[in-house]
């Protein structure tokens, strides 16, 4: 933008010119503010947060995000398949929440460990192992469950739980205590049942 002509010749139209520039500045300002507002909305609604991990790092037990999803595999009192089940329905029981997918290699390796833990607490009113199948095709997930003899129930997430639990990749396992707070988070593959049973025994 150039400065308006200083000499007197342009002065006649100067008033109108200034008004026009003011209008242009306001319109431009509104447009820029709109773009900034969109960017802020985008940042606030970001997919990946760290608040759960931050709280756990500080020794707190953050409230477990609400989780309602259809049952993919019915077992241990959770079902029937297709029914909507919420974490609130299991309040009073400690929930071992395992996020998994059929295409995930570490999930295959840790499946026997989860089966083992689930078997130990089978029929227990205190603990339930609950899988959450994410980013997966249901037919593949069912085939996975069959191939690995999965004996615990699983829900099927459409992306909401993945975001709410701030998952960065599968597998990830949480222990949600009877009050609905996250007591433990294991990122990556479980290598032995004690990773869960020790924590479960302390609750």
């Amino acid at each position: 933008m150039q400065a308006p002509a200083e000499d007197g010749t342009a002065a006649t139209g100067g008033g109108r010119w200034d008004r026009r520039r003011a209008v242009a500045a306001i319109v431009g300002g509104v447009l820029v503010a709109g773009v900034i507002a969109l960017l802020v909305v985008g940042l606030v609604n970001r997919d990946v947060g760290t608040s759960i991990q931050d709280a756990l790092d500080e020794g707190e037990r953050p409230e477990a995000p609400g989780l309602t999803a259809p049952v993919l595999i019915a077992a241990d009192g959770v079902g029937p398949a297709g029914a909507q089940v919420s974490l609130d329905d299991l309040r009073g029981r400690t929930v071992v929440l395992n996020f998994w997918a059929s295409w995930c290699e570490p999930c295959k390796r840790e499946a026997p460990i989860l089966n083992d833990v689930a078997r130990r607490y089978e029929g227990s009113a205190d603990v339930v192992v609950l899988g959450v199948d994410v980013q997966d095709l249901s037919e593949k997930a069912l085939a996975f469950a069959k191939a690995h003899g999965i004996n615990y129930p699983s829900l099927r997430d459409s992306g909401q739980a993945y975001a709410d639990y701030e998952i960065t990749g599968v597998p990830e396992t949480f222990i949600v205590d009877a009050q609905g707070r996250i007591a433990l988070k294991v990122i990556g593959e479980l290598t032995e049942p004690a990773q869960l049973t020790t924590a479960l025994g302390q609750l």
Binding site: A10, W103, C104, Q135, L137, S138, E139, Q160
Partner: protein, 141 residues
């Protein structure tokens, strides 16, 4: 040359639906890239799903709807044309319209400013220069 052109036109002329055609419309949920350029295990599963449905005679939209049922709307390569996501479709169009609407005003402003800028480049002639200029012009006449 004509034969070459005909050859190039062949794939698009063939009506059969390809996996790539469908894969272009969705994205790989684990890698956040269009499915046709993704090669993660999840992407391979999805391509297999698409290939199986094509074999069963499903059309493109039905396969895409099936994938949305499996993964949610986030699987679509383009945002849905409703709700807040509509902004992604409207803003570029509105920006172009605003640009087009601004052209008459900007060009008029430029046209008005150019003579003023021209005068501004050189200082006005002093009285001595003006007299000499008048003399020269008179001599030319």
């Amino acid at each position: 040359m004509i034969a070459l052109l005909a050859l190039a036109a062949l794939p698009s002329a063939a009506a059969a639906l390809t996996v790539t055609e469908v894969a272009r419309e969705v994205r790989c949920p684990t890698c956040n890239t269009p499915l046709d350029v993704s090669s993660s295990p999840a992407a391979d599963d999805m391509k297999e799903y698409i290939a199986e449905r094509i074999d069963r005679g499903w059309d493109k939209q039905r396969i895409i709807d099936g994938l949305v049922d499996e993964f949610g709307e986030g699987v679509l390569a383009t945002p849905p044309k409703s709700g807040f996501d509509l902004i992604a479709w409207l803003v570029p169009g509105l920006a172009v319209l605003a640009g087009l609407a601004a052209i008459p005003f900007i060009t008029r402003a430029w046209a008005r400013r150019r003579p003023a800028a021209g005068r501004g480049e050189t200082p006005p002639p002093t009285s001595d220069e003006a007299r000499r200029l008048d003399d020269e012009l008179r001599r030319l006449r």
